[in-house]
Amino acid sequence: MLDLYSVLGVKPDALEDDIRRAYRSAARRLHPDVNGHPGAANQFRDITAAHEVLTNLTERVKYDNKRRQIGTERPYFTLRVTPSARALPALNETQVLYLLIELVPDPTIDRSTTSTPLNLTLVIDHSTSMNGVRLERTKVAAHRLIDQLADSDILSVVAFSDRAEVLVKAAPMTDKNAAKTMITTIQAGGSTKIYEGLQAAYDQNRRYAGKNFANHIIFITDGRTYGDEAKCLTLAERCNEEGIGISAMGIGDEWNDVFLDQLAGITGGTSQYINSPNVVQRLLDERLRSLGQAVAERVTLSLAPDPDVIIENGFRLSPSAQPISIESDPVPIGQVLAQLPTSAIFTLQLPPLTEVGTRSLIRFAVEGDILWDRRTNYRLVADISLEVLTNPPIEEPPRIILDALSKLALYRIQQKAAEAAARGDIREATRKLETVATRLLAGGHTELANIAMAEARRLSSTHAISEEAQKALKYGTRHLLLPSEE
């Protein structure tokens, strides 16, 4: 049940006048006539619904009774927002503000004893290039994954190259040996057509897909797909609508990283770079553990900036580091994990602020399903306002934001270098790579710095980028953002 009082930001004993006032001030910021942002439209629907119930006396009494019956709900997780500055300077020019969003699970929740029922589909690329150690390691990793599943978990396995083949039909994992045998039979051959594999995986997964399961497709590939990217993305959208997550793992250097990022990002899933077939198993283990022990599933974040505030970009920091697509709303976040923090950072551009006083900036609404407690659509709202002062005290921004941004800066320059190289602007790309190397060295990341230096040298002499170095840099700088292990 949605807490209508918190949606409007009023107390449960608020008078009708207060409720109307709260609605009007929120509507001035979110109404589609003044605010074109899709998040504003989403949240405007919420405040309108809350306003309708709470200003109708009979409806409000009914709602209050229901609310009393449920009693106070345990907070499964909380939403914490940290701005880069506590007060904003009054300025006649645009300024930038960073917001760090954290979803913090309730510390009393112990997820090690119970596991979320899984509905898992494993998709394995068996094109010719997978031949040898890549395919063998993937098979071993898949066997381990099967061993770790509970009897009640659902598993399906799809192998694909030019066309897809369903090796294990979606069913409870009662006969593990049969499934393992089927995986052993996979032979390498053919080219990579991701859409074929994804379509078959979707058909299998949706048989059990429902609110009671953590539905997930894990995709392992080493190649590029040609011409069917758009179809894949449309299918990923449908998966997201039906509550099916997608994680992508790319082995080697040939695969299309931008595409797989996009594909996984649509559902709030992750994409990972696997430079050595040996790590397939570790990553699959990690993925399985995080799927089984999530505090919340199918978490989405809706962002409704004030009409004159622009969200420039968003970047997920943890549990995986990757850019967030902010074009549509709500943004899929995937899961809230028990052990690892879930966080993201957003860059806002604020208009010239000439008036001193409290200034509203953006509203956040988070929604997710708590599967292990049979609670769907658990929801939190946060409305962010800051003080605008003529001369705000100068203070150091929060450590946590500085840390994230300093590493994010590296990732972004590295991206600019890649973009410049793709444009054919070799001079600019070389210069950016040298800057990345300098910064990496200063930060003590010698290995990555050497890769960047070598790539800069390579680029200036051969005028061609190396796919391998580019991926190593992209995922290496991203990896820096993750909380250090142990």
């Binding site: 880069s84 500055a85 904003l88 300077p89 300025l91 020019e93 645009t94 300024q95 930038v96 503000l97 960073y98 551009q349 604020l350 100068i394 150091e396 921004p397 934001i401 500085l402 941004l405 300093s406 994010l408 800066a409 590296l410 972004r412 320059i413 210069r431 040298e434 800057t435 990345v436 300098t438 910064r439």
Partner: protein
Amino acid sequence: MKVCPYCAHSNREGILFCEECGQVLYTEQGAATSTKRLPVGTGGLSAKGGWGTARFNQSATIMLHIRDNPSPIEVKPQQETILGRYDGSSSSTPTIDLTPFGAYENGVSRIHAAIRRGEDTLTLVDLGSVNGTHLNGQRLIPNQPRVLRDGDEIRIGKLVCHVFFKTSS
């Protein structure tokens, strides 16, 4: 607006890391309001309490105070002003010849460094010298320009000089 001290890119207010080069921008603000006096000349480096302006008008000139020399050199910066040592034989001539100031003994290269003119700023760039160029105690990476500010200390090989902007208004 905040101008990056490293690459001279203009960043919007509130940006904490330069959007072009990733340089930290927020410490500058803190240092400008600091009232702590930092010791000067300790450990061979000179520390400063704050930054001078990076703004350099079209009509301005620079005064180059070379250590242990009573009279500064006044320079009207051109598009590129090359600092170095003329040895009579090489084909390239520096714009400012540092030979009278003990360039040879102090390890100044023939073509050592350059001061370049930006739109409203000056940058200092090391041109691949043997003994390096230091700006406020930090060694420059060859061919990567850094913004020059009023009052900066530059070290050309072992030759230490201070740069002051002189606005003729």
